[in-house]
Symmetry: C2
Amino acid sequence: MSADLDAFLGAVRARTEARLRRVLGASREHLAASAPAALPMLQSAEDLTLRGGKRLRPALLHAAARAAGPVGDADRALEDLGAALELFQTYLLIHDDWMDGDALRRGAPSVHAALADTWKDPHVGACTAILAGNLLSGIVHDLVATVELPGERHRAVLQAFATLERDVIVGQCLDVLHHPDVEKIHDLKTGSYTVQGPIALGLAAVGAAERLGEHLARFARPLGLAFQLRDDLLGAFGSEAETGKPVGGDFREGKQTWLTRHALQHLPPEDKLQLSRMLGHPDADTDTVRALLLRAGARDSAEARVALLGRECLDALQGAPLDPEGASLLAGLARRITERAR
Amino acid sequence: MSADLDAFLGAVRARTEARLRRVLGASREHLAASAPAALPMLQSAEDLTLRGGKRLRPALLHAAARAAGPVGDADRALEDLGAALELFQTYLLIHDDWMDGDALRRGAPSVHAALADTWKDPHVGACTAILAGNLLSGIVHDLVATVELPGERHRAVLQAFATLERDVIVGQCLDVLHHPDVEKIHDLKTGSYTVQGPIALGLAAVGAAERLGEHLARFARPLGLAFQLRDDLLGAFGSEAETGKPVGGDFREGKQTWLTRHALQHLPPEDKLQLSRMLGHPDADTDTVRALLLRAGARDSAEARVALLGRECLDALQGAPLDPEGASLLAGLARRITERAR
């Protein structure tokens, strides 16, 4: 089954990459002819998109569609939607990295950092990064709006996309505001476009949203939370080589994660005070924060919670009237996502 | 004819406002139920939208559709697209004002300034303003993608919208980069979504893009440039009460306009040096810059150019096979736009 999953992932990746290259290539050609001075803006967004490797969101989209039965005439639409999801992610990452002041993404300078360097001006870098995101957002919407599907299924796709877009923006707003409900932020900001949205889009494209939406929402929600928890664990305890992001970045930004919240709830007063002083401090020492999280049992608790959420996902698949092959792909993806090392 | 134009503008304004209130009200209700902490983000975007008064873009959209003949089954779609254009403008203004550091818009604090005040933090204000724009962009795209039109006309609408969106973003990028080709920036950044885009959308909605697109492009392009020139003239010589923006803001930002470019080309060396030193200087004295522009003849030349562009628009209407009533509305709008005092 793992070989099947690898073959499936490889095929989705290849198709998504090819579509991405065509879409971005067409935009680049147009820009080269009409306003070449603006090319670095698009180029850095293209670089970031093509540096992404896993293409998990298109894989979840395709797997959800296959879990509903034969994909039939939706095959081409799924390819477009998979590319749209990846470009949508690039747009979000560009804007988020500027908001969080993250200078590194996927092992290279983030877009605002790269463009600040191109134009030797941080504000021009920030503005053109925001615009690069906006340009991608336009391309994404054009892909989603022109996907070739019969009327009713297309309407369902548009509705699913509008929902995921609204959720992710509101989630990012709560994150920027340091809203105390960390799980709600994860659900809206990450789960929405990482798991719930791709699955909803896949079902909508094959006309199975009503029949299976409820079942797969019970699969998607815990998986989205598990994905974010794994992300937090990697951000806290992983290496830069594994994550492509600076180690301890979340600590220095003072980002509330499930780990820090757990630690602040479980540490004795003195340790708690030390931890809360370090979080959000630009010189926060990563090793000290890590030691405090470990002492609070945050890592073990988070691992236990990821495992629990993973079982919830798999249980949700058990009861659902799914195509066995598609269900097995979804189960395999859930295992990869909860167990991933980067 | 002026009474007819006023009645038409009043009717478009009323319909657009009603639609905007419904769309924004639905978003607000959803947010109030799901994430009330994020409400100020949407509220400030809503305030800015409803502070806008002229609704020129929806008027051009409706007038272009009527110039093609009876509007027929596209009436409701035009209402949706008119609201979409206004929300799209709010999105652009929010992002632009942050990029330009403009603290005032339509006579009140711009969105990033209002939100910085709400949360007592300029960076949180900037982030949530960008997100407010992104949220509106999502709403706009949902409106455009779900507009009720038969397949081929809907595809033409989507294509027109994708073009105007790409042009305006690329134009803003060139503006941020202080690209020397001022007229190209105006064409892409302003003409695209102010005149060319609304007209293209109106024609697409009634299925007249192929038959009349060329004719009305000859009307739209000079009108877009005239609109921007009038904007520059008001920004340079108008009052804050007229424009809702700080007097001399363009000078202090060092924004290249047709006026400054003309003056730098026509002033004697000493005056030229003085002007170029003042442009982009935070303490630039508005009266001195105005005097230099007047000495260079920039104001008279710009007025002459606006008049010439206005005649070009009206000439383009003469030769086109248009419905007389719709053509007369377009002509009236062109006069209002070129002669407007705010």
